[in-house]
């Protein structure tokens, strides 16, 4: 069993920086974490709805609206209504947005390389294996441990008379 006093301090000290990415991710322009994740997601999916975005970044609708507002205002994202269902908003990257994500990805690669390229090929392989294993198991545990925070889609029908 893991005990905080043994390794916890060391662990925390070492990953502390990770919890304040804004300090070392010094992007040229100002974007919040959520904005960056939103754009990466958009780049991958090409077209998404607000609801999909909300699911991805795991935030309330009103927060997502704010994020998209900013991205639209700065001309990186386009916001259209669906023809089929006019309630639905369809988000797309603009050309500027696509360019930006491209350079963003470059930057992310650089960071990952900084992390990884002091490792030997063997170590990289090993690490990737461990990460996958850890992520897989963690996901499984979180899903079973706190299903309510994960999906809170209990359907409650309340009849008012």
């Amino acid at each position: 069993m893991f005990d905080y006093d043994n390794m916890g301090d060391l662990f925390i000290e070492n990953i502390k920086k990770l919890f304040f990415p804004e300090e070392w991710i010094n992007l040229d322009l100002k974007f919040s974490k959520s904005e960056i994740f939103a754009m990466l997601f958009l780049d991958k999916r090409k077209e998404i709805t607000m609801t999909e975005l909300v699911e991805y970044i795991n935030s309330p609708m009103s927060t997502a609206t704010g994020i998209v507002d900013r991205l639209v205002k700065s001309r990186y994202v386009q916001r259209d209504r669906s023809e089929k269902d006019r309630r639905i908003v369809i988000l797309r990257l603009t050309e500027d947005g696509t360019k930006l994500v491209k350079s963003l990805k470059g930057m992310i690669s650089e960071y990952i390389n900084m992390i990884v390229d002091d490792l030997t090929e063997e170590e990289k392989q090993f690490m990737m294996g461990i990460i996958l294993k850890v992520v897989h198991n963690l996901q499984k545990k979180l899903d079973t441990a706190i299903p309510n925070t994960q999906d809170n889609n209990e359907i409650k029908k309340i009849i008012i008379e």
Copy 2:
């Protein structure tokens, strides 16, 4: 060389949660990341000054004041003036604070265990080694890349006539 399209998506997806710790730390009461780090630091050192706190969490004084204000208001931290130098503020955990950190550490241990305890002893060892190596090298690179953000303690004596 690392290329985003190969592994980047996978990587980002997997560490995404890490960038939003507030989502999974939010058990118990409400604390910001900085508040938690401050309390852990305080627990380790027992007594610290504001300046030491600022160095640790790497923020401006005014931010630290805010953090401590909140912790004092919620009765987890005590704020006294030093007898020897009455400019200096000495911070200590209250009894409640100590209790809280204890349970906090427990929680952190649990999280780390969740991550780690599916790994074999060999894998744990290997992982710790890799983490240390990575952190060490990353630190070195960041220091040389942007030395100005790290230590801005050039002494400038300006004589005004």
